[in-house]
C-alpha cells in the first residue's frame, strides 16, 4: 500500500492533474468494495446465526460453509426484473433506494478502522455519522410514499416515527462519552481510551489511564446500553423491526420493490448495522484496542492491519449480538416502541448525562470520595 499508492497517485495526477480527485476516487472505491463485501458477509452471518439459534444448519451448499450463498442470492437479485408499479410516483420510486443507501454509505467515510486507516479524519466525525445516517429515513419515506401502497406507507411512517424518536436517546447517549473525552473526533475518542497511565511511558504495551469508556464509569455503561438499544431501533432490527413487520405489513416500505432496487434496501440495512456497531465500538469499546485496560501501540502497516482486524472483529461481535437479540425478543407494538423511547430511554440517558456532567465537574469517575 505504502509503495503502490504514490505510483498510482502520480499516474492519476498525470492523467487528471488532481491529487484530490485520486484520493477521493480511491476512498470511494474502497468504501464501496468494503460495503458490498460486508453486506454479503453479514447476510451469510445472519443466516448462519439464525440457523444456530434455531438448531438448524443454515446455508451449506454454495461454497465452503455456504459462504458464497449471499453472492448467489445477489446475482439472482441482479437478474430479476425491476418492477415499477404503474400508479407509483415513478421518479421518487426509482431514486428512493439510492438515497436510503447513501445515508449508511456516507457514514463509512468517517469511520476510522485503525489509527491510519480512515477515509476522512473529521473533527466532527461522531456528529457527522449520527447526522448522515438519519438521511436514510428520507429514502425510506420516499419509498413508502411513492409505492402507492398502504402497507408501504404504513411501514414508512412507522420508520419515520421510530427513527425520529430514537435519534434522541442515541444522540444523548453518545453525548456522555463526548462529555468525558471532550472531543467529537472518533480518533481522539479512541485515543482517550488508550491514553497511557503516565504520559512519559513508551513501549508497545502499556496500561491505559482510562480504559474502555463502557467500563469507565456506571453512567457511561448506562449510556452504552441505551445507545445499543436505540441503535437497534435506528437500523430497524428486531425487536424494533416495525417498519417491515412481515406479519402485519407484508414487507413494509419495500413491499413493491424487486431486483436490484430491493437489494439496495438490504445493503442499507446491513451497512447500517455495521455503522451503529462501529460507532458503539469506537466510542464505548476502545475502538481498535484489543484489551480494556491494557493498550497496544503498534505502528506501520502490520500494526494498522492488526488494529483493523481487531476493530472488525468487535463490530462483527456486536452485529452478532444484534442477531442474538433478534432471535430472543418478539417484536414490540408501535405504542410500546414509542413508550420505550420517550418514557424510558430518554429520561435514563438524561439522568446518566447529568450525573456524568456533575462527576466530570468534580473530576471523579464513580462516586465522590471513593475513586
Amino acid at each position: 500500500m505504502d509503495t503502490l499508492v504514490p505510483h498510482l497517485q502520480s499516474a492519476w495526477q498525470w492523467a487528471t492533474g488532481s491529487a484530490f480527485a485520486f484520493s477521493l476516487v480511491l476512498s470511494i472505491l474502497l468504501v464501496v468494495a468494503f460495503v458490498s463485501v460486508w453486506a454479503m458477509f453479514a447476510v451469510w452471518l445472519e443466516r448462519k446465526a439464525s440457523a444456530d439459534f434455531q438448531v438448524r444448519l443454515g446455508p451449506v451448499y454454495v461454497g465452503p460453509f455456504g459462504l458464497l450463498q449471499s453472492l448467489a442470492d445477489g446475482l439472482k437479485l441482479a437478474f430479476k426484473e425491476d418492477l415499477v408499479p404503474r400508479e407509483s410516483d415513478r421518479f421518487l420510486f426509482l431514486i428512493a433506494p439510492a438515497i436510503a443507501f447513501c445515508g449508511a454509505f456516507a457514514a463509512f467515510a468517517a469511520l476510522p478502522f485503525s489509527p491510519a486507516f480512515a477515509a476522512v479524519d473529521l473533527d466532527l466525525g461522531l456528529f457527522f455519522v449520527v447526522a448522515i445516517t438519519a438521511v436514510g429515513v428520507i429514502g425510506v419515506l420516499m419509498a413508502g410514499w411513492s409505492s402507492n401502497n398502504k402497507w408501504s406507507l404504513y411501514g414508512a411512517m412507522r420508520e419515520a416515527a421510530q427513527l425520529v424518536s430514537y435519534e434522541v436517546p442515541s444522540a444523548l447517549a453518545l453525548m456522555v462519552p463526548v462529555l468525558v473525552t471532550g472531543s467529537l473526533n472518533l480518533k481522539e475518542i479512541v485515543g482517550f481510551q488508550c491514553a497511557p497511565i503516565d504520559a512519559g511511558s513508551s513501549g508497545a504495551i502499556y496500561l491505559s489511564a482510562n480504559g474502555w469508556l463502557a467500563l469507565y464509569s456506571p453512567w457511561t455503561f448506562v449510556a452504552f446500553l441505551v445507545y445499543y438499544v436505540a441503535s437497534l431501533a435506528e437500523c430497524k432490527r428486531a425487536p424494533f423491526d416495525l417498519p417491515e413487520a412481515e406479519s402485519e405489513l407484508v414487507s413494509g416500505f419495500h413491499t413493491e420493490y424487486s431486483g436490484l432496487r430491493f437489494s439496495f434496501f438490504f445493503l442499507e440495512e446491513y451497512a447500517m448495522m455495521f455503522v451503529v456497531s462501529a460507532v458503539a465500538v469506537l466510542v464505548f469499546l476502545g475502538g481498535w484496542q484489543p484489551l480494556p485496560f491494557v493498550s497496544l501501540d503498534l505502528g506501520g502497516a502490520a500494526g494498522n492491519a492488526f488494529f483493523a482486524v481487531v476493530f472488525l472483529a468487535k463490530c462483527i461481535l456486536l452485529v452478532w449480538v444484534q442477531m442474538w437479540l433478534r432471535w430472543t425478543l418478539p417484536r414490540l407494538r408501535v405504542d410500546q416502541v414509542m413508550v420505550m423511547g420517550y418514557k424510558y430511554l430518554i429520561p435514563v440517558t438524561l439522568g446518566a448525562l447529568l450525573l456524568m456532567a456533575l462527576y466530570a465537574h468534580w473530576g471523579v469517575r464513580y462516586i465522590p470520595g471513593i475513586v
Binding site: 444456530d52 439459534f53 444448519l57 442474538w324 424510558y344
Partner: protein, 254 residues
C-alpha cells in the same frame, strides 16, 4: 414511580433471561440432517426397501411363494449340492405392497425391510420405473468362503481324497471330519466342521420343507391366485429379464 423502575429492571432481567435461553439453543447440536448425504437409522419395523442377508439365505422360496403380488424373483444354482451360486434375487417395487409377509415367513430371518446399509435405499422417487426392479444381491455367484470350500473339494477330488460332502452333513459331523482329513492343519478342520453343520441344518430344513410347503402353499395360493388371474402378462413379465418388466405395471396401471 415504583413501577417505572420495576419495569426497567424487569425488562433488563427478562432480556438477559431470554438471551440465556437462546444461547442454550445455540450450543445444541443441529437437529437437521442433510438428507441425501446423511441418513437417519430406520426404526424397527419400518417397511422400506428390502435387504437380503445372502450368506444365511437358504434359497427356500418361502418369501417368493407367500408374496401376494409375486414381486420376488430368485435364481441360484446349487454347487456341490450345498453351496449357492447366486444369479438373481430381485424385488419389483412396481408391484411390492410392503405387506411384510416375506419377512415374517423367512425361516432364517435373512430378509428385512427395516435395515439399511450402503446398498439399500428407502426413497422410491424415480423418473424411470425400470429402476424399481431392484436386485438385492451383494454379490453374484458363490461367496468367497464358498468358493474356497468348493475349490478345496475339487482339489481333494483331483488328489483322489474321498470327501463326500453330503454324507458327513447327514450324519454326525465331528467324527467323520477327523477321519476324512487327518493331514489338514488345525484351522481347516474347524472351518470344515462349521460347514457341514450348516449343510446339516440345510438338509434338515430341506426335509421339513416338503411337509410344510403344501400347507403354506395352500395358504398363499388364494392370495397369489387373484393377482395372477388379473394380470397374467405381469406374472409372465416378472419371470423374464429386467428390461421387460417395467412396461407390465405401467400398462396395468393404465
Amino acid at each position: 414511580m415504583l413501577t417505572y423502575f420495576k419495569n426497567i429492571v424487569d425488562s433488563l432481567r427478562t432480556t438477559v433471561k431470554g438471551m440465556q435461553v437462546t444461547f442454550k439453543n445455540l450450543r445444541r447440536p443441529e437437529t437437521t440432517v442433510s438428507y441425501p448425504e446423511e441418513l437417519l437409522p430406520m426404526p424397527k419395523g419400518y417397511r422400506g426397501f428390502h435387504t437380503l442377508d445372502q450368506e444365511t439365505c437358504i434359497y427356500c422360496f418361502q418369501c417368493a411363494r407367500i408374496c401376494p403380488v409375486e414381486c420376488i424373483e430368485m435364481k441360484a444354482d446349487r454347487v456341490e449340492k450345498k453351496f449357492l451360486a447366486w444369479e438373481q434375487f430381485s424385488v419389483d417395487y412396481n408391484k411390492c405392497l410392503f405387506c411384510n409377509l416375506c419377512i415374517e415367513v423367512c425361516p432364517k430371518d435373512c430378509i428385512h425391510m427395516d435395515r439399511r446399509d450402503g446398498s439399500a435405499k428407502f426413497a422410491l422417487i424415480t423418473d424411470d420405473r425400470s429402476t424399481l426392479n431392484v436386485d438385492l444381491l451383494l454379490y453374484a455367484g458363490l461367496s468367497e468362503t464358498d468358493q474356497k470350500a468348493v475349490a478345496k473339494i475339487a482339489a481333494d477330488r483331483a488328489a483322489g481324497i474321498e470327501t463326500p460332502p453330503a454324507k458327513p452333513a447327514a450324519g454326525a459331523a465331528k467324527p467323520a471330519e477327523g477321519a476324512a482329513k487327518p493331514a489338514e492343519g488345525a484351522a481347516k478342520p474347524a472351518e470344515g466342521a462349521a460347514k457341514p453343520e450348516a449343510g446339516a441344518a440345510k438338509a434338515a430344513e430341506g426335509a421339513e420343507k416338503p411337509a410344510e410347503a403344501p400347507s403354506k402353499a395352500a395358504e398363499a395360493k388364494p392370495a397369489a391366485a387373484k393377482p395372477a388371474a388379473v394380470k397374467p402378462a405381469a406374472a409372465a413379465d416378472a419371470k423374464s429379464a429386467d428390461p421387460e418388466a417395467p412396461p407390465a405395471p405401467e400398462t396395468h396401471e393404465a
